[in-house]
Symmetry: C2
Subunit: 206 residues, 2 copies
């Protein structure tokens, strides 16, 4: 007899298959049958967990957003917040941007679909708010461990970071020749750090 948690795991596997399917074929191509093929299941399996594509898309947004939140949660205790935050930004912006632009391609598809689907728009908005709150909390933790300047307004800076991250993500898809390197992480975190990073605007750092 399958353990009860198997259902949760399988449901998440279907959501992940939907993300991969969207990355490969776009949102329109990612039909329930296509997602079933992606995971090697029958369509019935997908339909057991999701009554329609709209429900499946919401689960796919949940899956993608949770993946990103987890990056932030797996911080080694010994590491200060600024070091961890730069690593996470590096992963989200540079690694996913360069080698995994599909991550951002899928988000673009979700955002576009959300302009026409209120339930999906709500899911996207909820995750955006949670992400900003998570960034706010991280900045406040950094103020407690001394790595983030006490002068920073955590809520406002988190809003800026969230927007900048999305901007870099979009850019990696729509303008792949745009020079986005680690100097961009320096730019968006320079005023956050309690260390003085001087000369960030200068040619020497770019």
């Amino acid at each position: 007899m399958p353990a009860p948690t198997d259902h949760t795991v399988r449901r998440m596997e279907v959501a992940r298959a939907a993300v991969h399917s969207i990355a490969r074929t776009g949102l329109e191509g990612a039909t329930l049958r296509e997602v079933a093929d992606e995971g090697g299941w029958s369509v019935g399996v997908v339909q057991y967990y999701f009554r329609n594509k709209s429900e499946l898309l919401i689960a796919a947004v949940d899956f993608l957003a949770d993946q990103t939140s987890e990056l932030m949660s797996n911080r080694p205790e010994a590491e200060n917040v600024m070091v961890s935050l730069r690593k996470v930004l590096n992963q989200i912006i540079l690694e996913r941007g360069r080698h995994g632009a599909n991550y951002w391609k899928v988000w673009i598809c979700f955002w576009a679909q959300a302009t026409n689907d209120h339930l999906l728009a709500k899911a996207v908005e909820d995750h955006a708010r949670l992400w900003r709150q998570r960034l706010t909390t991280v900045i406040e933790e950094g103020q407690r461990d001394g790595s983030v300047s006490p002068d920073v307004d955590a809520v406002s800076y988190a809003a800026y970071l969230a927007a900048a991250i999305e901007g870099f993500g979009i850019t990696s898809v729509v303008d792949p020749e745009c020079p986005l390197g680690s100097d961009m992480i320096d730019r968006i975190t320079a005023r956050l750090s309690s260390d003085d990073l001087s000369g960030l605007g200068s040619a020497s750092r770019s």
Copy 2:
């Protein structure tokens, strides 16, 4: 007999109608017939200028991108570059974000469609590159008029600005409660200015 330029003007009017139609109904809903209705024309008029929806979408991207470039071109000669740039950023990010989120909604639809349409992707990428080049030129002009710090790497800063602008645009659509105010314009231009804007990270400016 109509003047030859009438064709250029009408073609642009059809492209503009497509943008309005996408803003209202989304990309799928914006059929050639819908766009014709938007402008009060017969479908034949739209088909005279555009053989298919793909061609129309490219013209719509051109129309939207040109609108933004024009903002940058209409700079009063007496105004220094930093003052002009802040005004333009204010228009693109804050005014269009708050009161005209449809502008950014339409861009999101174009970006999503471009992930599946090579010709549209090329049009989007071309405009993104031109926009970065325009921003680079503006920054260099600012270095000549003394309002932009000579230490700034114009190419790298333009890339950062272009990405940040898109990020704020997306955020105004997908996360409308995100606090984006004029402090965000200060944040992204602070290191550009030859004036010292101190305390930008502090709560007092947010």
